[in-house]
């Protein structure tokens, strides 16, 4: 059975930004999902968060919208709805752990979908990893990390040694 991984909105945003310390790890997680080595889960709520809003003084261009839509419509992303079970679990998480609603929604979805790890770019949230209350056990919550096995590109074996290009 494939590993079930949950990605919060920040993973997709960081991948699109490409400038954050964890951006490449985020891309690696998406690549692993596309290759089929993991099952990548997220909530439909993520679609509403991976956007560009005016309040952040952003330039919203049709190009940006196309890129965002293209990424979020990828067939390797498994979406889950916020149904009654997710909503009630999310409320319990907010009550028991004083976690913000949007984080709680993601954690609740990950729990319902039985994901073994939740990747978030929210450092403080990772301190809640694996915590439990009388009602609920939080999953493992980690910052994005490289999860693919390093491999050589397919094709002819390299016959000449790698050399540093002259600057």
């Amino acid at each position: 059975m494939k590993r079930r991984i949950y990605a919060c909105s920040g993973v997709f945003i960081s991948h699109l930004k490409g400038t954050e310390p964890e951006s490449h790890a985020c891309t690696d997680i998406l690549e692993a999902a596309r290759e089929g080595s993991i099952e990548l889960h997220t909530s439909w709520v993520t679609i509403t968060e991976v956007i560009a809003l005016d309040r952040a003084r952003l330039r919203r261009t049709p190009d940006h919208q196309r890129i965002v839509t293209e990424l979020m419509d990828s067939a390797y992303i498994v979406y889950s709805a916020v149904d009654q079970i997710v909503a009630e679990k999310s409320r319990t998480i907010s009550w028991d752990f004083q976690i913000k609603t949007h984080d709680a929604l993601h954690l609740a979805t990950a729990i319902v979908r039985k994901c073994e790890v939740v990747y978030t770019i929210d450092g403080p949230l990772t301190s809640r990893s694996g915590q439990s209350s009388n009602n609920i056990q939080l999953p493992k919550i980690l910052l994005p990390e490289f999860i693919r096995e390093p491999s050589l590109p397919l094709g002819e074996p390299r016959t000449t040694p790698l050399t540093r290009k002259p600057i």
Partner: protein, 278 residues
């Protein structure tokens, strides 16, 4: 790659891929054996149909009469487009979907992906054929799962409606049934197999959408675990096909997506009314 009939596939290769069903009983009557064959065949057909977009035909690779042991291997009918290795992996996916699904039923934790209501009903009948030892099902290189008679009760729970809410299901529309209550079957993008009850007008529309990716919205009935069991559709429309382009094509393309904010500040700004703190 040229097409190859199943007769040309190496029998040893098929044997290595075989999924084994063992009904271990002191004596298996002809009637029980006939039902055993019928239910295993239906299960293989139903799950492979949900799991694959291509056709699969299962061939019998082994048969032991002492305690009714049958081994089936899938032969996939897509030889002009996929390599042998790809077909082998897909066949393996189907077999593991069956084994994992039966395990999920035994543990009564969730309605297993790729198992339609019809497949679960068939599995229920299959489970009742076994006695105390149950039916052992194993895929190549994996531990066996035992299908016991208690699976029948679990399936009743998995199919029992527990909640209703308004929602939607997205997936491929594959079956239109006009008998009694007309319905279509939608194979969701990630394994949900959902029966969608539609009005006569919508059934007519559905016929034109056979094989297409659709959205059905309406009143969803789910089981106690939150798995969608059925939907009473109020809207039906075509949905665009999803793609699998490499993430590298979008990585770093919007460096200013969060403006002057950090990603955390940006996400917090979307939910400004919150008073709880992480």
């Amino acid at each position: 790659m040229p097409k190859r009939s199943r007769d040309e596939i190496d029998p040893m290769t098929l044997r290595r891929q075989a999924l084994t069903f063992a009904l271990r009983k002191k004596a298996v009557s002809i009637d029980e054996f006939e039902r055993f064959v019928r239910e295993t065949k239906a299960l293989l057909k139903n799950v492979s149909r949900a799991r694959l977009e291509i056709g699969a035909e299962w061939v019998l690779t082994d048969l032991k009469f002492s305690s009714a042991v049958m081994a089936y291997a899938p032969t996939l009918q897509d030889r002009d487009r996929a390599s042998d290795q790809q077909l082998y992996e897909r066949a393996h996916d189907v077999e593991w979907s069956i084994v994992d699904g039966i395990r999920a039923v035994e543990e009564a934790t969730a309605k297993p992906p790729y198992f339609s209501e019809r497949a679960l009903s068939g599995l229920r009948r299959l489970s009742l054929l076994g006695d105390g030892a149950g039916i052992s099902i194993s895929a190549p290189n994996g531990p066996a799962v035992i299908l016991t008679r208690s699976a029948a009760d679990h399936i009743d729970v998995l199919l029992r409606p527990a909640r209703k809410y308004y929602g939607s299901i997205v997936g491929d529309l594959d079956v239109v049934s006009v008998h009694k209550s007309p319905y279509v079957t939608v194979y969701g993008d990630h394994g949900d197999v959902v029966r969608c009850f539609l009005s006569q007008q919508m059934i007519d529309d559905a016929k034109d959408l056979l094989g297409d990716r659709v959205v059905v919205a309406g009143e969803i009935t789910s089981n106690r675990f939150g798995n969608v069991v059925s939907i009473r559709g109020e809207e039906l429309y075509e949905a665009p096909r999803r793609h699998s382009r490499p993430p590298s094509q979008t990585g770093g393309l919007i460096p200013d997506i969060t403006g002057d904010y950090s990603i955390s500040e940006y996400l917090d700004s979307l939910w400004p009314e919150e008073i709880a703190q992480s």
